[in-house]
């Protein structure tokens, strides 16, 4: 890697994820995954490189509209568009989970119109019960066997354990970077942190650890400028572009924490393998993964983990990001807003169609919300 500041390098990787992935794969197969249910650790253990498929915010949708109706999720449509435009051709295969119905449906459409060498639909239960955890654990084994076929060799327990160990180091380092945001002013901004996480979505886990170490060192050494601003937690649908965080931070706030799938929902806690490797992955990727596509019961106490984050990071207000047609998030919103309200934390919801084209209107709301907090 080039000799420049770690965060400048992060920015470069964030902006050129595909070319970095290609360069660092060194001939190993790159397997794309959509959503975060099929554990990338299993892909790593197979000697392949997991690559998180993302969209391109605001991209002009030309091809995908031929295959997806106007009421389809704009995010999934955008990811599919990237593939139809040939921007994901470097991937050997794709793993798509049944995270939500749109993602599950795109599996078939995508496979039919744009077939990779390897394509796998990963089954994910929608409720958490002892039986669904057992079910998920078995699905993990099926997924592993499917990758073994592709790789042409078995994936050993040791290989899995080694991949998880590297991933856990990623997680520990990310946790340490999050910890730098607990004190005002945070040593790493929300926009920077999101870039760090997205850089991790395309790098081999070992290289990512080196980068995280460098970022930690650089951020810790920063001098504080002492500016006090409102502290925000961002909740909502997938955010894989820094523009939304940028709008909030430019309006005069610190994004100090999040409840997002590229964020605390997936990478803050280590995978605990004391009850077995597959059980550890099951707990991390099904039981503890707080995407509202999984039913966590009707009680508003299902949001208590979010309140814990609010308290831990000293959050003053929550800003939500909801994509058009994302029923799981939108149906959770009224309960969440009221629950946070009960605990004195105001919440603002921004609706978008994965373009953030309406920048001025969004800025206006965000600014008014921040003025309300001061």
């Amino acid at each position: 890697m080039k000799n420049e500041s770690a965060l400048a390098q992060v920015r470069d990787i964030y902006e050129n994820r595909a070319s970095w992935a290609k360069e660092l794969s060194r001939g190993r197969m790159l397997i794309g995954y959509l959503c975060h249910f099929a554990p990338p650790e299993i892909i790593s253990a197979a000697g392949m490189i997991p690559y998180r498929i993302t969209g391109q915010l605001g991209d002009d949708i030309v091809e995908a509209n031929r295959y997806i109706e106007p009421y389809g999720c704009p995010y999934v449509r955008n990811c599919f568009e990237q593939s139809l435009k040939g921007r994901l051709d470097f991937l050997e295969g794709r793993v798509i989970p049944h995270s939500c119905d749109m993602v599950q449906r795109i599996y078939g459409i995508w496979k039919y119109y744009n077939k990779p060498n390897y394509s796998y639909l990963f089954n994910v239960p929608h409720q958490v019960s002892p039986w669904s955890l057992d079910f998920f654990e078995r699905e993990l084994t099926f997924f592993k066997e499917s990758l073994e076929k592709l790789a042409g060799h078995k994936i050993s327990e040791e290989q899995l354990a080694a991949a998880i160990e590297v991933s856990n180091k990623n997680r520990r380092l990310i946790r340490e970077l999050y910890d730098l945001r607990k004190k005002q002013p945070p040593k790493i901004s929300g926009t920077e942190m999101l870039q760090v996480l997205l850089a991790g979505s395309c790098l081999p886990a070992e290289e990512y650890n080196e980068l995280l170490e460098k970022v930690k060192e650089e951020a810790t050494a920063r001098k504080e400028d002492g500016k006090q601003l409102p502290t925000i937690l961002v909740w909502g649908c997938i955010i894989d572009d820094i523009k939304f965080f940028d709008i909030i931070e430019q309006a005069g706030a610190y994004v100090v924490c999040d409840d997002l799938c590229i964020g605390t929902r997936t990478v803050l806690e280590e995978i605990d393998t004391t009850k077995g490797i597959m059980r550890g992955l099951t707990n991390t990727y099904l039981r503890d993964f707080r995407c509202p596509r999984t039913d966590h019961g009707p009680s508003v106490e299902r949001f208590s983990y979010l309140l814990d984050l609010v308290r831990e990071f000293g959050v003053q207000g929550v800003i939500g990001y909801a994509l058009a047609f994302c029923d799981p998030h939108k149906l959770d919103y009224p309960d969440l807003r009221d629950y946070l309200g009960m605990h004195g934390i105001p919440m603002l919801l921004i609706n978008d169609d994965y373009t953030l084209g309406n920048v001025e209107t969004i800025k206006n709301r965000v600014q008014a919300f921040l003025e309300m907090l001061q």
């Binding site: 105001p346 609706n351 001025e360 206006n364 709301r365 600014q367 008014a368 003025e371 309300m372």
Partner: protein, 261 residues
Amino acid sequence: MGYVAGLDSGSTSTKLVVMKDGKIEGFYVVPTGGNSLKSAQMVFEQWSAKTGKTEDDLKSLVATGYGRENIRLARKTVSEISCHAKGVHWLFPACRLIIDIGGQDFKVIKLDNEGRVINFAMNDKCAAGTGRYLELMANVFQMSLEKFSLAAETATGSVEITSVCTVFAETEVINHISWGTAEKEIVAGIFNAVARRVYSLAKQHLAGDKEIVFTGGVAKNKGMAGALSKIMGCEVKVSFNPQITGALGAAIYACEINGGQ
């Protein structure tokens, strides 16, 4: 003692309110058109032409509205939501709920007893129920906005406009015209449809409010004020010039920056 001012660079019009010694010294309104910077200059020129003063005579200026970031001279920018709250609280200290209907959006703003915003809700993207929607409808009837605002005064009934989409609602209106429905009843239907949309947004924030204030350019429309009063179940108050409330709020912020002068 000096002049302070608030500039509201809105989507449809640009408003300037100049204050001196805690009183409104004058206000000026020009259409925003395609250039928010130029219309801001124009509104200052109007002030200069009338009083001989220039921007240099201002102790402080606060900008609000969609074009607020472009106003070079502004000491500070404040969102129009906070500005409307400030302006209304100055005019109507007992008010706790504001309905603001502007050119491209409408808002419901809830205040505490010091005029601070405690919550707000806004329509999303679509123009239904905004000033633009009413302009389009007035156009269908080939009426000026003034004439349109009074066109439902003598209506005894009103038609139902059910579509929330501006374009589809226009089609509904044209249907009624072709069926020969009385013009005033169609216009009354249009006002009621907008009032219903605003009410559905305001409903969760209503708490037995006795004093609701209606601001923004659309508050100049008497028919709309009447339709809102009916649906809200109390008299909706309108200030002497509702269009300038945001700029007035900005001017009061400017006043505060200047140490209350």
